[in-house]
């Protein structure tokens, strides 16, 4: 690109502006459009997103997609192999159709895995922003309480609470929410403290803005992004833990179909049929990997480093 000489009476800036491609100089893309554009250029993320969409759709549509009743078994048809007539993915130890159970099981596993992260995102962001913005004693109180939960590795904390509460989906949701809330609070608090110190917040306060407008318009807009990205990284762990709890007999109770529960029930059958018992775990693995790849892509697109 040629830059012409600066003529008499002309500012050098004008000449520079002429020589730049107009789109760059005049129409900057909005932040979220840039993020979306970057996501569409990222092949791994797109594939992961596609796989995830399929998994979620098949879970949502399970009642219509499943060829059999997930709890109706047949003693004559126990542990049929993959590709058996009428049962494309075989049958389980009670002769129930694996495809139907995997579809229904996905519903349970996704509910048990996603809800705690969602709860943690809402509660954790609220607590973290509160602690970070108010500071002082409130901050100390909230953050030291959260520190206590860091005395336990995630798996152990989940098992401790679930072990005490007993099995069942509601208890799984409670115990996993307790696992993830302190993590979100930490991220939300540090992001809030960082943004709170920026000059534009001081400017808003100086121009007479109240606490609620500042938090709502100025703070949350810049804090929710990083919190969301962090929460998205926790989904795969949450799914693995939720399935793990039912694998231990602490989560969803039989006869419901849930991937971790199915894996645990089929464990005894690996000497009879090697492929069918591996399927529920494969489903957990693929789902958790898709969530991980997606959150990696999201983080890269938003340029936030873990």
């Amino acid at each position: 690109m040629a830059i012409r000489a600066v003529g008499p009476g002309e500012s050098p800036d004008v000449v520079m502006a002429e020589s730049l491609p107009p789109a760059v100089a005049l129409v900057p893309m909005s932040y979220w459009r840039t993020v979306a554009w970057r996501l569409t250029r990222d092949r791994a993320t797109l594939v992961a997103g596609g796989v995830l969409l399929l998994i979620v759709l098949s879970a949502v549509l399970a009642p219509w997609l499943a060829p059999y009743d997930p709890s109706a078994g047949s003693i004559r048809l126990r542990l049929a192999s993959v590709g058996a007539a009428g049962h494309p993915l075989g049958t389980d130890e009670q002769g129930r159709d694996m495809l139907s159970r995997l579809l229904w099981g996905g519903r349970m596993t996704l509910i048990a895995g996603l809800t705690p992260v969602l709860v943690a995102f809402v509660v954790g962001a609220a607590l973290g922003v509160l602690a970070g913005y108010v500071g002082g004693l409130t901050n100390t109180l909230v953050m030291r309480t959260m520190d206590i939960f860091y005395a336990f590795p995630a798996v152990l904390l989940a098992i401790a609470i679930s072990g005490a509460l007993g099995p069942g989906l509601p208890n799984t949701l409670i115990s996993l929410s307790i696992v993830f809330i302190p993590r979100v609070v930490r991220v939300a608090e540090s992001a809030t403290v960082q943004v709170k110190g920026l000059e534009y917040i001081a400017a808003a306060r100086a121009s007479g803005s109240g606490v609620i407008p500042i938090v709502r318009h100025h703070l949350l807009a810049n804090v929710l992004g990083p919190i969301l990205v962090f929460a998205s990284t926790q989904v795969s762990l949450s799914i693995i833990l939720a399935a793990g709890l039912s694998f231990l007999g602490l989560g969803v109770t039989p006869p419901a179909a849930e991937w971790g529960l199915m894996l645990s029930a089929l464990r005894q059958s690996i000497y009879v049929n090697a492929i069918v018992p591996a399927l529920p775990g494969l489903a957990i693995f693929v789902t958790s990997m898709a969530f991980n790849l997606l959150s990696d892509g999201l983080r890269d697109a938003m340029e936030i480093r873990a």
């Binding site: 030291r144 309480t145 520190d147 206590i148 939960f149 860091y150 005395a151 336990f152 590795p153 995630a154 798996v155 152990l156 098992i159 401790a160 609470i161 072990g163 005490a164 509460l165 007993g166 795969s236 693995i240 399935a243 793990g244 694998f247 231990l248 007999g249 602490l250 971790g260 894996l263 464990r267 690996i270 000497y271 090697a274 018992p277 591996a278 529920p280 775990g281 494969l282 957990i284 693995f285 958790s288 990997m289 969530f291 991980n292 790849l293 990696d296």
Partner: protein, 336 residues
């Protein structure tokens, strides 16, 4: 270690930077030690609360169904359940501090004995899987960083994602299916009782691999990004411009990324202890996870409490040691 000379230095020298660094390190160590106490107390409150989280009367679980009201009252008094909760907590804490974790409801054995045996077995497994994961993870992460964008790097990234995504209990089952059921090379269950070192190692092989998968993924990832951070710094360019051989540049990069890698290793070792619950359940390895699993099945709350309290204490102390060792390696940390 220059930092250790601080306290012995003369007052005149203490005003110099080196003396102040040493003072800062020691005050940091003190603060960090003090901070661990409320964390441990908080953890003990959570563990204590577990009994009261459990649905139903804790006494009902220990008493036979036909016992009379008076008998139940007597047991309540014997266990101290008639006192207010804070008093109960203090009494319980007093016993715990003396190493008395109560008795198992199922076996009547002292919980501390069961936990001690189980912890030894878990530690052995955590050590072997950590060794495997640390060695492989550091090697892969460094290789990937130095071959950024090439096939090896992409493979390492892939392996890292698989490592953090795989449900390790499922990986354990797959290992059993392949190596025990199909190939019949390695035993599927338990620890060896007798049969020599080789037999013991054969029993350890599969659980070790299953347990190493998650830390392997995490460590590969962190080592790669830590090394890349250093590689992209100007001083590395300067070293290269100076004509330093690739091998010596490598040494510089490793040394500078060491503190970050070190933190991850410490944390991961702690997670190995707590995270082994599911893997131990799959392989019936007689560690803390297996004990926990049994306690869950029998609703044996004292054992549940004991195992979790001991593991949490171990985890907090381990984090403390890692933090302190880190300030020795890199005194800059105390300023944050």
């Amino acid at each position: 270690m220059p930092a250790a000379q601080g306290p012995a230095a003369s007052p005149r020298r203490q005003r110099r930077p080196r003396g102040s660094v040493a003072t800062a390190v020691w005050s940091y160590v003190g603060r960090r030690l003090l901070l661990a106490i409320p964390t441990l107390l908080g953890a003990s409150v959570i563990v204590f609360a577990m009994v009261h989280l459990a649905p139903g009367d804790p006494i009902a679980a220990v008493m036979p169904a036909e016992s009379s009201k008076a008998e139940i009252e007597a047991t309540k008094r014997a266990y101290g359940f008639d006192k207010p909760l804070p008093v109960q907590y203090l009494v319980w804490l007093g016993r715990v501090v003396q190493g008395d974790l109560g008795r198992s409801i199922a076996t009547r054995r002292a919980v501390i004995l069961d936990v001690r045996d189980a912890l030894t077995n878990s530690l052995i497994l955590a050590l072997s899987s950590s060794l495997l994961a640390f060695g492989l993870g550091i090697a892969l992460g460094l290789l990937a960083a130095f071959r950024q964008g090439r096939v090896l790097d992409k493979l390492a990234i892939m392996l890292a994602v698989v490592g953090v995504s795989i449900p390790h209990y499922w990986a354990g089952i797959i290992l059993i299916i392949v190596f025990s059921v199909q190939l019949n090379w390695l035993p599927a269950m338990g620890a060896a009782d007798g049969g020599g070192v080789l037999e013991y190692l054969r029993h350890m092989a599969l659980p070790t691999v299953a347990l190493a998968l998650i830390p392997l993924g995490v460590i590969t990832r962190v080592v790669r990004s830590a090394a890349l951070d250093i590689l992209n710094q100007e001083f590395v360019l300067a070293l290269r411009a100076k004509g330093l051989a690739g091998r010596r540049v490598f040494t510089h990069v490793v040394k500078n990324s060491a503190p970050q890698i070190f933190t991850v290793l410490g944390l991961q070792f702690g997670f190995q202890l707590g995270g082994s619950v599911l893997v131990e359940a799959v392989f019936s390895w007689p560690g803390t996870g297996y004990l926990l699993n049994l306690a869950i099945f029998q609703r044996d709350i004292p054992v549940l409490q004991g195992v979790i309290l001991v593991l949490a204490t171990f985890f907090v102390l381990l984090n403390l040691v890692v933090d302190l060792l880190q300030t020795m390696v890199d005194p800059r940390i105390v300023r944050h």
